[in-house]
């Protein structure tokens, strides 16, 4: 075994572990291409259709170009609605929609490519990673 020659450093914006998966989650993912996550403090009525998780890093939400990691699956982020970051950082809540759209219809939407979602399992990691580009310029005013 040899290590990969190039290691692309990624910033970990959010890091969490799935603790429970509600019984409706499979239907949401399979029939609608939607995965809802909530933090473990959320009210019980939300758990039926949510993957529940406990975060250890909750510094920021995703933006387009970031990577969502669910277990061993890596998914590129296409679009992010206006309230996604607040929901994720405050409540551990995010709505992933595998609709392939680069525009967020609803303020809570985080859009992913069609067919990209996987059904999480308890014990899976859930992370949001920001790739370090070769010409990364954090002070970029854009």
């Amino acid at each position: 075994m040899t290590a990969p020659e190039v290691t692309v450093e990624e910033e970990v914006l959010y890091s969490s572990t799935v603790t429970a998966v509600g019984e409706q989650v499979g239907m949401f993912v399979g029939d609608h291409g939607i995965l809802v996550l909530f933090g473990a403090d959320s009210p019980a009525e939300l758990h039926e259709f949510s993957a529940i998780h406990e975060a250890t890093v909750a510094s920021a939400g995703p933006r387009p170009g970031d990577v969502v990691e669910l277990g061993s699956t890596r998914i590129p982020v296409l679009a992010v609605g206006s309230v996604v970051e607040a929901n994720l950082v405050n409540l551990g809540h995010i709505d992933f929609k595998a609709n392939g759209s680069t525009e967020a219809d609803m303020p809570g939407d985080c859009n992913l490519p069609v067919g990209s979602l996987v059904l999480p399992q308890p014990g899976d990691t859930f992370r949001i990673l920001r790739p370090a580009g070769p010409v990364a310029t954090p002070e970029d005013p854009s």
Binding site: M27, F28, D31, H32, I34, V36, F38, D41, S42, P43, A44, E45, L46, F49, S50, G81, V83, V84, A86, N87, N90, L91, H93, D95, K97, D105, M106, P107, G108, D109
Partner: protein, 123 residues
């Protein structure tokens, strides 16, 4: 025994649904705030005007049959549908419209969105 008053809650800018009339009762006294950062100002206003009891859904849970109204800050997928599905009057502070897997439960007589503090008025 507390004396409850009614409020009318109308949709705000870009919002959908309503208006809803909310009157807490002894059986359903709770203004249930399922929002980030504690009791949302809209929930606080509803509680202030009606005499209902503001309740933080992220601190502890309440039975559905005690809830006069749920105040959510949902971005359009999950919470917008759950409370209407449970027949709970629902106020979203974000300007959402029916969507998501539970969209069929979101009706104008049980859901209103885009609501700010100024959209809650005494009836």
């Amino acid at each position: 025994m507390p004396e409850y008053k009614s409020v009318t809650i109308s949709k705000g800018r870009g919002g959908w649904g309503g208006p809803l009339t909310i009157t807490p009762t002894d059986e359903r006294p709770l203004v249930y705030s399922v929002t980030g950062g504690g009791i949302h100002p809209v929930a606080a206003r509803i509680a202030e005007l009606t005499g209902g009891q503001a309740f933080d859904g992220f601190k502890s849970s309440a039975p559905f049959d005690k809830i006069a109204v749920a105040v959510i800050d949902c971005g359009g997928t999950a919470r917008v549908g759950v409370y209407p599905m449970k027949k709970v009057m629902t106020v979203d502070v974000h300007a959402t419209s029916p969507s998501g897997p539970l969209a069929s439960f979101i009706k104008e007589d049980i859901f209103v969105s885009g609501v700010g503090v100024a959209d809650v008025v005494e009836k």
